[in-house]
């Protein structure tokens, strides 16, 4: 059975995530890369446990499922941080015009 090329696995995954997180890649990169390396490390350990007869297919699937959901939780945090950044930008834009608009209208609507 062929061995897994972990360097290719990591770079392929990073490229795929980068493609999806284009706009937020700069901020997301450290978290995403850490998770991907952890995922690859998990696969490496599964390979080791399989080769030493310490794990079966059902167990391997459960390990991968745990890792996938962990990665999902991390990516959800990245998404949340992105939304917070957008929210802060919109509110900063409103702050800039608040006084002018409120004064011009005579109503404190902002």
């Amino acid at each position: 059975m062929a061995n897994i090329d972990f360097d290719a696995l990591i770079s392929g995954m990073i490229k795929a995530v980068q493609g999806k997180l284009t706009k937020h890649w700069k901020e997301s990169k450290p978290y995403a890369e850490k998770e991907i390396r952890s995922f690859a490390e998990n696969i490496r350990l599964i390979e080791h446990l399989k080769n030493t007869g310490k794990i079966n297919e059902t167990q391997a699937k459960l390990y991968v499922d745990i890792q996938k959901n962990s990665m999902r939780i991390v990516l959800l945090t990245i998404e949340g941080l992105g939304i917070l950044a957008v929210e802060a930008a919109i509110n900063a834009a409103i702050d800039v015009v608040r006084s002018s608009v409120n004064t011009a209208l005579g109503w404190a609507i902002l």
Partner: protein, 151 residues
């Protein structure tokens, strides 16, 4: 002078504001920080940490068997169910809801692995980093949701 510059733009700005700000002075796209969620997730993280420490001691002995840990799983599931209800009750909290759902799957998978049986330390050690990453990410988001408070 600024007012003069802004006057022609006011109808457009007002329209935008009325669309995105129905009744508040700032835009909120995601839920606020929730102290109960933060504390509950932290408490659950402590339970999982205790679990891993205990398993590392018990592994290879009868004490590591699933039956000795069933109350841990029951309690953790109760905590997660409470967290889910809390998360569902908060507006604009879809991300946290999804995080709690993913954490529940992780716990169910852990329980299933334990039922099958842990026979060596590597099997257990391998599980700790993904749980740590998940808890860190959930808490990191909660702290970020404090917004201005965090500074």
């Amino acid at each position: 002078m600024n007012n003069t510059l802004f006057l022609p733009k006011i109808p457009w700005l007002l329209g935008l504001v009325l669309i995105i700000l129905p009744a508040c002075s700032s835009v909120k796209l995601i839920s606020d920080y929730d102290e109960i969620t933060d504390k509950s997730v932290t408490a659950l993280q402590e339970k999982l940490s205790e679990f891993f420490v205990k398993m590392e001691t018990d592994i290879g002995t009868e004490a590591a068997a699933y039956t000795h840990y069933s109350s841990f799983y029951q309690q953790a599931k109760v905590n997660l169910a409470t967290l889910k209800i809390r998360a569902d009750a908060i507006d604009k909290n879809k991300i946290v809801q999804d995080q709690i759902a993913a954490l529940s799957i992780m716990l169910n998978d852990l329980e299933e692995l334990h039922r099958i049986g842990f026979t060596n330390l590597t099997q257990v050690k391998q599980l700790e980093p993904p749980f740590n990453s998940a808890f860190t990410a959930i808490i990191k988001l909660q702290l970020a949701l404090k917004r201005g408070e965090k500074k």
